[in-house]
Symmetry: C2
Subunit: 191 residues, 2 copies
């Protein structure tokens, strides 16, 4: 791995562990196994490094291409797949989600934009799925965007509690149970 990537990796690690102010450039450099000045030769400032860390892990929502994939599934199976994919996606980007969650209100528009694009795109994907289901007559009439928020909200909140609040009442192995129960509630609530 080249120097720049090492710095980015250590940046992600330490920013997510200690926050933007808590992580020092010295520490990041040390963790990356390079000299501090080398960090500044690659990134003009700590802030630019932070941005780079965020941007480099900014991903296209994995759920976007999901609609065609689940087109043949039943409503229940479709929702289960979406829920699972959503939780997996969050878990993969756990560190990033944590940074954004904790730094978002004191850090400027760039983070906002990225966060928006992640959440909004997911919401829209889901809302359009619901709209399709309404056209087909599978589900009743309801505000599709609110429905999407309700659905993802259940799972995001679960993820949040599980990973950050350490409310480990239900262990990781029970994720499938959670998905099943939440999806069941939602399905009966919308059909």
């Amino acid at each position: 791995m080249n120097t720049k990537d090492k710095i980015l990796e250590s940046g992600l690690k330490l920013f997510s562990k200690k926050g933007y102010l808590g992580a020092t450039t010295r520490e990041i450099a040390k963790d990356a196994g390079i000299a501090e000045i080398t960090l500044f030769r690659h990134f003009p400032s700590k802030e630019k490094l932070f941005e780079a860390v965020i941007n480099i892990h900014s991903f296209l929502p994995a759920l976007k291409g999901l609609l065609p994939e689940i087109a043949g599934f039943s409503y229940e199976e479709g929702l289960k797949v979406i829920a699972k994919r959503f939780l997996d996606s969050l878990a993969e980007r756990k560190d990033l989600v944590r940074i954004m969650h904790s730094e978002i209100h004191r850090y400027n528009e760039k983070i906002h934009k990225i966060y928006h694009s992640i959440i909004n795109e997911t919401l829209k994907t889901l809302a359009s799925y619901f709209a399709d289901m309404q056209k087909k007559g599978t589900v009743r009439n309801f505000d599709t965007e609110l429905g999407a928020r309700a659905f993802l909200g259940m799972f995001f909140s679960y993820f949040d509690a599980e990973n950050f609040m350490m409310l480990r009442k239900y262990k990781r192995t029970d994720t499938d149970t959670v998905i099943k129960e939440f999806v069941a509630i939602f399905i009966k609530g919308t059909v």
Copy 2:
């Protein structure tokens, strides 16, 4: 208001706005309208002040005595009241919730306790309400604690987005709509 309270108030305000590291003692003192050294005369260190701020606002949620209150209500009305009360409760403690979200990793134990007291008590209240409803035959059989998490998760996530992520797609005045829609989904999903 006496000096100590002024310091605590400014502490809450600035810690929640800028985080523990981001808020300086000078700034807190200035905001409280006192000399910096007076702050240190009341609190031996910044960390002790932070603890005091957290502890002073740590209180039991108002939802505990809610069950008897909604005993005569319909299932739908009961859930609406609980949702509203939960959202109001979060809104009242907005600053504290924000602190907990951003500083939870640095200060595990204390923040944990508070978080637990707010969320857990609400969860239990709700779960026991569901259990009652199951006994009465109003709702179907489902895991009451998971149901409570699903229900509150929808609203917590909504609150989170509304207040911290600034996903202001729905304005504050629409809260009633959100409650109505979420409750409708949940009711149909559990009856």
